[in-house]
């Protein structure tokens, strides 16, 4: 019986892996806790350069974490102009995160650092990989702080810069199509706009509902929550069953489930209580979207951009759905999400289109 469930699990894992856009690392460190694992003094954060942390082994551009720097990947990830991302976490010796709810960010210990590299593959004209920035969230005295390291042209170092800037980039995407954008490296104020609750900085992705999925570690594919516990980064005191987000790209799921997964990671950071845009009626967090009203279905918008926008989501009519109009726009005063994208997420928009078209009957 146990064997069977493992097999089923593996099947599930493969299904997910096959449709994940971020290439899965094959040689990332499992982060097994060893005597020589990375030690850092959080009082010295943030360093002027990324290399001072020593997160990576060998040439930094290889993104191979040292012992104690553990890779992870949420089941659903925010669309940011098709950038690829690699995420890692590090904690001081003898500390660990604890569970505080399926949909709550893990309660991380002081000193913890969440690390996220933003990069593109097949960057033109050299067709190489280019790491643009490494964003850090670190926790000190109970509060999260931001740091952002902008990588140099040589891809040998990242320099602390929270002023915000733009960099043009052209690349060949996973479908072989050339794309270009003026990539936005956020300023501190932009970081906080999305990463906040009650005006205090918070992480977004590392919630049990989003980590209760597989990851291909160097020593094999494992459940991420189990792995974090095994390496000592997550307390074992947590429920066995985690209400887990549906993978938005999993075509085996219903459109509604996929949409709920999509808006949870792409929209909920602003559209939930105590966040940037909580004065509008939508509530996009996964644990709130079982009620279609929270998705905006048949809800008139506060600010209809055009007279045709009768509802946030108008069943069966993308033309009347303000949500669709905003996702399809690149005008920065119209588009949603507000920050983090300048391009339309074609695959995400296709999902939303299919979903709205499938809804019936028409809104009264």
């Amino acid at each position: 019986m146990k064997k069977l469930s493992t097999l089923l699990m593996t099947g599930f894992v493969l299904a997910i892996v096959s449709c994940t856009k971020d290439p899965l690392p094959d040689q990332l460190s499992a982060g097994a806790l060893e005597a020589d694992r990375l030690t850092l003094d959080p009082e010295e954060f943030p360093y002027a350069t990324l290399s001072q942390y020593g997160f990576f082994d060998g040439p930094m551009a290889n993104q191979r974490p040292v012992a104690g720097v553990v890779p992870f990947q949420p089941i659903n990830t925010l669309f940011t102009d098709y950038a690829h991302k690699k995420r890692f976490m590090w904690m001081p010796a003898g500390t660990q995160a604890t569970y505080s709810g399926d949909g709550e960010v893990l309660d991380f210990p002081d000193g913890c650092v969440l690390i996220k590299n933003f990069y593109y593959d097949h960057v033109q004209p050299m067709d190489r990989t280019r790491i643009i920035e490494t964003r850090l969230l670190f926790k000190r005295n109970g509060a999260w702080e931001f740091a952002d390291y902008v990588w140099n042209e040589e891809q040998t170092e990242g320099y602390l810069d929270l002023m915000g800037s733009n960099t043009p980039i052209t690349w060949i995407d996973d479908n072989g199509m050339e794309r270009s954008t003026l990539y936005r490296i956020p300023s501190e104020a932009e970081c906080l706009t999305c990463h906040k609750s009650h005006d205090v900085a918070v992480p977004i992705g590392p919630k049990p509902q989003n980590l209760n999925g597989p990851f291909a570690y160097r020593d094999g594919v494992k459940n991420q929550l189990d792995h974090l516990t095994k390496v000592g980064y997550l307390s074992a005191r947590r429920p066995k069953r985690i209400r887990t987000v549906p993978h938005w790209e999993d075509t085996g799921l219903s459109l509604n489930e996929r949409v709920r997964g999509y808006v949870d990671i792409n929209c909920a950071h602003c559209h939930k209580e105590f966040s940037h845009c909580d004065y509008r009626p939508m509530r996009f967090a996964f644990n709130e979207t079982d009620d279609p009203v929270n998705l905006g279905v048949c809800v008139p918008p506060d600010d209809p951009l055009l007279p045709q926008h009768t509802h946030i989501v108008s069943r069966g009519s993308t033309g009347r759905s303000l949500l669709h109009y905003r996702l399809a726009s690149t005008d920065e005063a119209v588009r949603m999400p507000l920050l983090g994208r300048t391009l339309v997420h074609d695959e995400g928009l296709a999902l939303i289109t299919e979903w709205i078209n499938s809804l019936e009957p028409a809104c009264p």
């Binding site: 800037s165 733009n166 706009t193 055009l306 033309g319 005063a333």
Partner: protein, 654 residues
């Protein structure tokens, strides 16, 4: 294709017809019930509602007497279809939008109501913007109401090629408002011609790193006589400096991150040079300070320190001669700010003391003297509910909430744009926002007119003396008529070129009106820089311009229905010739204080001017006296703003 007409014998639903496929073959109909089996005819070249319909069906209606008409596709007993209706006057070759509706009926069906004049043929078109499916509709008549007295009608007009415009501002100093459509590499200006046409010119600019995606404003930053542009984007500010001829623009792109919302040009430190200002959505507000010589310098802090800044407006609410800052706020820190300005450009929040620190999610506010008592009142409109707040300025530094007693609670809509203008030229400021237009009745109350267009750049786009509203690629032409008007264009020299921040006072028989010249009101757009006044039936007016420099220009016997250009300090009559007989002061001469008699002046604002018109002091009169101890010897003018208007007298300081 001409379709056969089927006359149904079904007694219950009356006539059944198939519609006609082109405008010239439109089927004349009267009161009754009709069926369209499918929309498959030719679409109208004129589109009053936007979108790109491809097919349509056509009818006409003519009545021998004036009548009200309702056409609706919401017909009992039949499914509701997502239809649209446009009603035109004119001819098939020259269709004029008369009325239209998309979703006025239940379930996305349409309901349009219009007045048909006797013996005029109205052309009715149903198009397939949303659906080509068949539907039923009825045409019914109702008696026409008495002609609307105060309600203000607008007719949407599409100027070929006008596109999306952000501003309605005179760009070539011909006292005609032009329209502006900026992009990252050009600005297209539609120059209004005296004959009512527009001459569109696209001027290539240096590249704007930041486009006007969130807002724009206009003013002469470098005092070269030509208006410059400020673009506010989600990541920062670009300034576009015009050459003297207004024919080319060079860009200054600021690297500083600003999540721009409302942008403004205003002389923050009163040094005679316009500064640039932007609300910041996620951080403290920012300014770009202009010393008249160097590039404008980025500054942050001092204008509201927390995030959630959406709608800034600069007006002198306390009548001290300095523009103050109000910030409508929303989102992360939604408490509105009111920051009076003190000399040197120091702004301090007093909203909590005055009951203006609301948290009702506002993106803009409309400041104007709604009751014509000489001070600026405010409508703070909500963007997420219909809980708006109309606050009367009591003239003594306090405000009273008059939302309900003034009938402003009849505005049960919400919007991000709120502005105030006198749209019917009756001398009383109306408020545009929410569910439409609150028309000022002139007696302390407002009447709601839900037929008004949505906000947009406001200016007189057909030079008929009435303000029009640009939006959605259309000019909503104001159809009002019969009242007189006056428009004042200040041209500064000591003060900034546009007279932004100037207080303009227009006095006619029994009415005194004030405007503060602004670059940037509402949330996103830029409206005319000329101060527009409705004069009702008055033929002449007295105009006073109180410049930010303290200079006052005073012009008497100004004829109505013109644009009056006032050059700073060059008016034919200066303030000391405008002494009014109602008040007197003693002693003469005076040393420490003067006591005022002849009018109720207690707790009223007063100003003391030099004989050259320079503002020397602003104060509030207490116990009918005002201290003058520290003035130097000489002759001065005292001006008191009373409920009867501004009263002036001379006094001598010993």
């Amino acid at each position: 294709m001409r379709k056969p007409i089927l006359l149904s014998l079904a007694a219950l639903s009356g006539q059944f017809l198939t519609a006609q496929n082109t405008c010239p073959t439109a089927l004349p109909i009267g009161e009754g019930s009709y069926q369209v089996t499918a929309i498959d005819g030719q679409v109208s070249p004129v589109n009053c509602l936007g979108g790109n319909p491809t097919l349509a069906e056509w009818y006409t209606f003519t009545s021998p007497v004036d009548t009200g008409v309702i056409v609706t596709t919401e017909v009992v007993g039949f499914p509701l279809v997502d239809t649209r209706i446009q009603v035109f006057s004119g001819t098939c070759g020259a269709l004029v939008c008369h009325a239209s509706d998309d979703d006025g009926g239940n379930g996305l069906s349409s309901l349009v109501q219009f007045y048909a004049a006797a013996n005029v043929t109205y052309i009715i078109e149903f198009d397939n913007r949303w659906s080509s499916s068949g539907f039923h509709f009825t045409l019914s008549l109702f008696p026409p109401p008495p002609p609307p007295v105060d309600l203000i009608q607008f007719s949407p007009v599409s100027i070929p090629g006008m596109g999306y415009n952000m501003a309605a501002v005179d760009m070539n100093n011909d006292q005609l408002d032009d329209m502006l459509s900026p992009s990252a590499s050009s600005v297209r200006i539609g120059y209004q011609q005296p004959d009512g046409t527009f001459n569109f010119v696209t001027i290539a600019t240096e590249t704007a790193t930041h486009t006007a995606s969130w807002s724009m404003c206009v003013g002469d930053l470098d005092k070269n006589g030509a208006n410059d542009l400020m673009y506010g984007s989600g990541s920062g500010v670009s300034l576009m400096f015009s050459n003297e001829e207004g024919t080319s623009f060079s860009a200054t792109n600021y690297p500083n991150y600003v999540f721009c919302q409302r942008t403004n040009m205003v002389d923050l430190d009163n040094d005679g040079n316009l500064d640039a200002f932007s609300c910041h959505d996620v951080d403290a507000n920012v300014a770009f300070m202009n010393n008249g010589v160097d590039s404008l310098i980025f500054e942050q802090g001092g204008y509201g320190e927390t995030c959630g800044n959406y709608g800034s407006v600069f007006t002198d609410y306390n009548n001290d001669g300095l523009v103050d800052l109000f910030v409508a706020k929303c989102g992360c820190d939604p408490e509105d700010l009111l920051m009076p300005n003190s000399p040197g450009g120091i702004f301090t929040d007093v909203a909590p003391e005055l009951g203006l620190n609301d948290t009702h999610q506002s993106w803009s506010s409309a400041w104007g003297d709604f009751d014509n008592d000489g001070d600026m009142d405010v409508m703070i409109g909500s963007s997420s509910s219909s809980v708006h707040k109309l606050m009367r300025n009591n003239g003594d530094g306090t405000f009273t909430n008059i939302t309900n007693e003034a009938g402003a609670n009849a505005n049960n809509g919400q919007s991000i744009e709120w502005t105030t203008h006198d749209f019917n030229n009756d001398g009383w400021l109306d408020i545009l926002g929410g569910a439409g237009l609150l028309v000022n009745d002139g007696d302390g109350t407002f009447t709601m007119d839900v037929s008004a267009p949505d906000n947009g750049p406001v200016g007189d786009m057909n030079n008929d003396g009435y303000l029009d509203v640009i939006n959605s690629g259309l000019i909503n032409i104001n159809q009002s008529a019969g009242n007189n008007w006056l428009r004042v264009q200040p041209v500064g020299s000591v003060s900034n070129s546009n007279g932004i921040g100037a207080r303009i006072v227009v006095t006619t028989d029994g009415l005194q009106q004030i405007r503060d010249v602004k670059s940037g009101d509402g949330f996103r757009y830029m409206s005319s820089l000329m101060a527009h006044f409705g004069l009702a039936q008055a033929q002449t007016a007295t105009v006073e311009v109180r410049w930010p420099s303290g200079i006052v220009d005073h012009i008497q016997d100004v004829t109505a229905n013109q644009v009056l250009v006032v050059y700073e300090g060059l008016s034919t009559a200066s303030v000391f010739e405008a002494v009014t007989p109602e008040i007197a002061v003693h002693p003469v001469p005076a040393r420490d204080r003067i006591t005022i008699s002849g009018a109720e002046t207690n707790n009223r604002p007063a100003r003391i001017y030099s004989t050259t018109g320079a503002l020397v002091r602003s104060a509030t009169i207490r116990a009918n006296t005002i201290g003058i101890e520290d003035l130097s010897q000489g002759v001065y003018i005292l001006e008191v703003t009373t409920t009867d208007g501004a009263l002036r007298t001379r006094f001598v300081k010993d």
